[in-house]
């Protein structure tokens, strides 16, 4: 057995151990910390499976942004968590839930183990037509050319999530802004980080989108880094969420999906059909769509983290 195999088995064992620890953690905050560590370990697993694009997404979205959302949720639940012990589901219901989860896991494991070897794959097809898209990264070709309709719908789901979060606003706060106002929490440590990191972070975010055409990276990963930079400055009290009435905010939120749909529909007139690109123009069009998608993602994620508006509308 080679050293790499031993490391792989160790990594897999560690992922399972952290997953078990997360499930059995008593405190919601501890479970969230476990979940973030689990996500980071999982991204190492993806690297070992040579899926660097997935690893980047897992680290940025699965572990990073989801982690921030869950920490916020755990913080809000903390006040009521202690007094809720009597409302926990009974032993029989929990046993039933555990049995159901184990059953689903066993079915999934059975399906994976019964796959033919070598597994059915479209990878050679995807690689053969890569040149027609002008892209070097087959993952980006799949996401934005072969199945661009799915990717467009994923962006629409993000807008729907924002609508869902905003609709939780109390009536008097409708039209107000979420999060804390600027300068609410003057804090030296966070302010220093929020001033030093963004110049580098914005550069890395844009770099990741740009290289996504030919190397691992893309709109989602780069957009998540840009989103993180805005979140950091907001947490330090250096910037604040605009009012949800802001036209600019709403415009940027829908810009990505809107441009995607517009280019897709234009395919009827200029190419072979809906969501088809005209020959020779695939790469510039894909980069055009990705630029707007990145902008939308970079704004959508902080809006989701900030939650429903909590401040009165300013007259």
């Amino acid at each position: 057995m080679s050293i790499l195999q031993i490391l792989d088995i160790g990594l897999a064992g560690l992922v399972l151990a952290v997953a078990a620890w997360t499930v059995f953690a008593r405190d919601a905050f501890a479970a969230v910390v476990g979940f973030v560590a689990y996500g980071l370990l999982l991204s190492l697993v993806w690297v070992r499976l040579f899926a660097v694009d997935v690893a980047l997404t897992e680290a940025a979205i699965g572990s990073g942004v989801t982690g921030v959302l869950l920490i916020g949720a755990a913080g809000r639940l903390r006040k009521v968590e202690a007094s809720r012990d009597d409302e926990l589901p009974g032993a029989s219901l929990r046993l039933f839930a555990a049995a159901l989860c184990i059953f689903v896991t066993l079915v999934l494991a059975g399906v994976v183990l019964s796959l033919p070897d070598p597994g059915p794959t479209l990878a050679p097809e995807a690689a053969r037509h890569l040149a027609e898209t002008g892209l070097g990264n087959p993952i980006t070709a799949v996401l934005l050319s072969y199945r661009s309709f799915d990717t467009m719908l994923e962006k629409v789901v993000l807008v729907l999530a924002v609508v869902g979060v905003w609709s939780l606003a109390a009536d008097q706060y409708w039209g107000g802004a979420a999060g804390n106002p600027r300068g609410a929490e003057p804090d030296g440590t966070r302010a220093l980080l929020a001033q030093v990191l963004p110049p580098l972070g914005i550069l890395i975010g844009i770099h990741m989108v740009w290289v996504g055409a030919d190397e691992p990276g893309g709109a989602f990963q780069g957009g998540a880094i840009l989103a993180a930079m805005w979140m950091i400055t907001m947490m330090a009290g250096l910037t604040e969420m605009p009012s949800i009435r802001s036209r600019l905010l709403r415009l940027v939120l829908v810009a990505g999906p809107a441009v995607f749909v517009a280019v897709g529909v234009a395919g009827v007139a200029f190419a072979s059909g809906v969501f088809a690109y005209p020959t020779g123009f695939a790469k510039p069009l894909i980069l055009f769509i990705e630029a707007f998608m990145t902008l939308s993602i970079a704004v959508t994620l902080p809006v989701l983290v900030a939650g429903p508006p909590k401040r009165l509308r300013q007259q």
């Binding site: 440590t189 990191l197 580098l200």
Partner: protein
Amino acid sequence: MNVLLDLFSVIAICFGTFFFLAGTAGLLRFPDALSRLHALTKADNLGVGLIVLGLLPHAGSLLAALKLVAIWALIQLAGATSAQLIARAIRRSG
């Protein structure tokens, strides 16, 4: 020359992993939260720094080497900030 560079890498990376080992031992054995935090941030700082130093001769290009150094600098920044925030939370909770 190559042998010397390899030797340099091996020594630097070994020292780096030693700091991680020491930091982990400190995290598990030190009595209070602030000392544990101290052990952890030293491991991040010197451990990653020495491993990056050991990897530099094998980076292949100047850009890759700069990326490695940038990773070290970013870990420093993240480590220093989170250590400050955790320490403050510990002091507030008493």
